[in-house]
């Protein structure tokens, strides 16, 4: 806490006051014929931790580069703390950034790397040293100041990069897949470290990742991008329980997509009619062919003769300790995955007949066409 006080300028500065709100309005960026970012708008609250999640080529990095000022958008505006900085060069934006590959200056010691932003701001040598050491303490690297970057491990280098990004008390911290170069254990350790820094410093964090687990566990809200467009921006739970469209549904976690016919009241699957609640349709679904989306863990495995169950034939059983994955084929040929506690399942083998139970409220309905 002492170190945090040194960073934030004294104990009187409360964490909540350091972050800045970010407003992205109608951001568009084209590379030749390719529209990398297509009319993206984001409202990020002060002190919020937001993750930009998407496959490669979804435009998430381009959005981040525009926020940093390394890439100028073709259209749209970016406001940080209410100030328009769409065309401000990066060195005048006063934001912190952590890159994927550490990007420490190899000719400078760890302390000089961390003090670099302070030097650029004309801060005197003594204060630079004190604040760099305090920042190193925040990332738990006290005493490493005299080393050269190449003498540190990848995880340590990335923590130095983190210290360098927060040492000048920026109100916004951008992170471009900062953990993707680290191995699994180190990654989890750094995730906790970054979460801790976020709650202690109250800084606004925009975090780009292609790892859905990372996005869900770390961020207050996750923005899912695809082909330059925001698919959904919501807290983790909403994202998982009510994905806005089939892409978001498939991108976060495992999701069954069962072709169905919707008549306005019930979904017809393999000769059975499933009555759905009104809120099952996330967006308006016209009667006709549709897609029924159900999480595997919401599907129950029962006897084949149960009247409310969908009859199916087991094709594979994957035992995984606490849970077992049952892969079954409906009578109309659709494949369904059901995940159930191993203890609750009868012994099953490929070829067995089962009934798959979709409880009311477990199914979501989407239009059949690709979103």
């Amino acid at each position: 806490m002492l170190a945090i006080g040194a960073i934030a300028g004294g104990p009187s500065v409360t964490a909540a006051t350091t972050g800045a709100a970010i407003s992205v309005r109608g951001l568009t960026r084209r590379f030749g014929a390719v529209v990398a970012v297509d009319d993206v708008s984001l409202e990020i609250a002060a002190g919020e931790f937001i993750a930009l999640l998407g496959p490669s080529g979804s435009g998430k990095s381009t959005v981040l580069m525009s926020l940093a000022g390394f890439d100028l958008p073709d259209a749209g505006r970016i406001l940080i703390g209410g100030e328009d900085c769409t065309h401000l060069p990066p060195h005048r934006r006063n934001i912190g950034m952590v890159f994927q590959n550490y990007t420490l200056f190899p000719h400078l010691s760890v302390a000089d790397n961390v003090a670099f932003p302070l030097k650029m701001r004309g801060i005197g040598r003594a204060e630079r040293r004190a604040r760099a050491e305090a920042a190193l303490e925040v990332v738990r690297l006290s005493g490493f100041g005299a080393r050269m970057p190449r003498q540190l491990s990848g995880g340590q280098q990335q923590r130095v990069a983190l210290a360098r990004a927060i040492v000048y008390r920026p109100r916004v911290l951008l992170m471009d897949e900062p953990l993707s170069a680290l191995d699994k254990n180190l990654r989890e350790e750094m995730q906790i470290e970054i979460k801790r820094l976020h709650s202690e410093l109250g800084i606004t964090i925009v975090f780009v990742t292609h790892d859905q687990g990372e996005a869900l566990t770390m961020a207050d809200r996750v923005a899912i991008l695809r082909a330059g467009r925001v698919q959904q921006i919501a807290p983790a739970r909403t994202l998982y329980e009510r994905p806005a469209n089939l892409f978001a549904a498939g991108f976060i976690g495992d999701m069954n997509r069962i072709p169905t016919t919707w008549d306005g009241r019930a979904a017809h699957v393999a000769g059975r009619a499933l009555a759905l609640e009104a809120e099952a349709a996330v967006s308006a679904v016209p009667p006709g062919p549709a897609i029924l989306a159900v999480r595997p863990e919401r599907i129950g495995v029962a006897a084949p003769d149960r009247p409310d169950a969908l009859p199916a034939t087991v094709t594979d059983v994957v035992y995984g300790g606490a849970g077992t994955l049952v892969i079954a084929t409906l009578d109309d040929g659709a494949q369904v995955r059901a995940r159930a506690p191993s203890a609750a399942l009868p012994p099953l083998a490929p070829g067995d007949r089962v009934g798959l139970v979709v409880p009311p409220g477990a199914a979501l309905l989407y239009p059949a066409e690709a979103p």
């Binding site: 390394f70 060195h91 994927q100 000719h107 030097k119 650029m120 340590q156 000048y168």
Partner: protein, 317 residues
């Protein structure tokens, strides 16, 4: 056997690294790969086999003749330092030596000024653009130094292109004496030696990750500041490398100064040639070679100490 020794040595150096933390974990990404030492070791016969052709050539075509010359300078006509005393007693020779150093320094500085922007452009280019610039840099190598020097003589002569331009544009009333001046020697030598400056600088600049410039910018460094604080220090090994290469080549340059300079621009290589071919004074020529060799060695060592490449790269343990 040697691999085991190497890993033992690595373990020992890791243990020396400090008591605060253990060295980087084995499964960890240790560096960006950016100045990492190669871990693989070669067997001794392989090293000897690979070096042998070059070393034989070096010994028979360079070291042996050089040593013979030094021996001549110290033993003929009488054993002693008389030949060396002559070099420093006669102010003419000292003047030639100083002039040689001055011209070499001028050529190196001019090459550096001209080469850096080209190297920077190359480092930012790729594909056909890079190929085109590289071709332009290497194009002069397709013709001999003699041809290029002769071309400068044509350009700079009294009725040449440059004088034509100067008088045509009204800069001067009458043709100016351009040929057989120190300026002509410096310009032509720079032209010939510049590629040796461009390539090492380009190599150093290309090895700097682009993200470093971005990191500097986001830290608050404007383009000029980022260049001074990050790009230039990291390019310095290339700059010094190119500088040494050009400077040492210029010290011993022969054809260009003898064709484009007057006796007032005589450099030491020309003087040596004159002593051998006209005065037939081998012992004295050999003493001049000895002095030049001494200078070259001294300057190389001084550069090495001055810039401490190892420190620059953070190899300090």
């Amino acid at each position: 056997m040697s691999a085991a020794r190497a890993s033992a040595a690595r373990a020992a150096s890791a243990a020396r690294a400090g008591p605060v933390t253990p060295g980087p974990a084995a499964n960890d990404v240790v560096t960006t790969g950016f100045f990492r030492a190669r871990g693989r070791r070669m067997s001794k016969p392989a090293i000897v086999g690979l070096m042998l052709p070059f070393f034989s050539l070096l010994v028979f075509a360079f070291l042996y003749p050089l040593m013979s010359l030094i021996a001549i300078s110290l033993t003929e006509p009488q054993p002693g330092l008389a030949n060396y005393a002559r070099v420093f007693e006669n102010p003419v020779y000292a003047t030639v030596l100083l002039r040689t150093l001055r011209i070499a320094l001028l050529v190196s500085l001019l090459s550096l000024i001209l080469a850096f922007p080209v190297a920077a452009l190359m480092a930012r280019s790729k594909g056909p653009k890079l190929a085109l610039i590289t071709a332009c840099i290497l194009l002069p190598f397709w013709s001999s130094v003699l041809v290029r020097t002769a071309a400068w003589a044509v350009l700079l002569q009294r009725n040449g292109l440059v004088n034509g331009l100067l008088t045509g544009l009204g800069v001067t009333d009458a043709p100016v004496k351009l040929l057989y001046t120190q300026g002509a020697v410096v310009v032509a030598m720079t032209h010939v030696l510049m590629p040796f400056m461009v390539l090492p600088i380009y190599g150093a600049l290309r090895n700097i990750p682009t993200d470093l410039a971005r990191a500097a910018a986001i830290c608050g460094a404007g383009p000029a500041r980022a260049f001074r604080e990050v790009t230039l220090p990291l390019a310095l090994p290339g700059v010094t490398g190119g500088f040494i290469l050009v400077f040492l080549s210029a010290l011993g340059y022969f054809i260009t100064p003898s064709l484009l300079g007057s006796p007032q621009e005589m450099m030491i290589a020309t003087l040596i040639s004159q002593q051998i071919r006209e005065s037939l004074d081998w012992p004295f020529a050999a003493a001049l070679v000895g002095v030049l060799t001494l200078f070259v060695t001294g300057i190389t060592l001084a550069f090495g100490r001055l810039f401490r490449f190892d420190r620059l790269m953070g190899a300090r343990a």
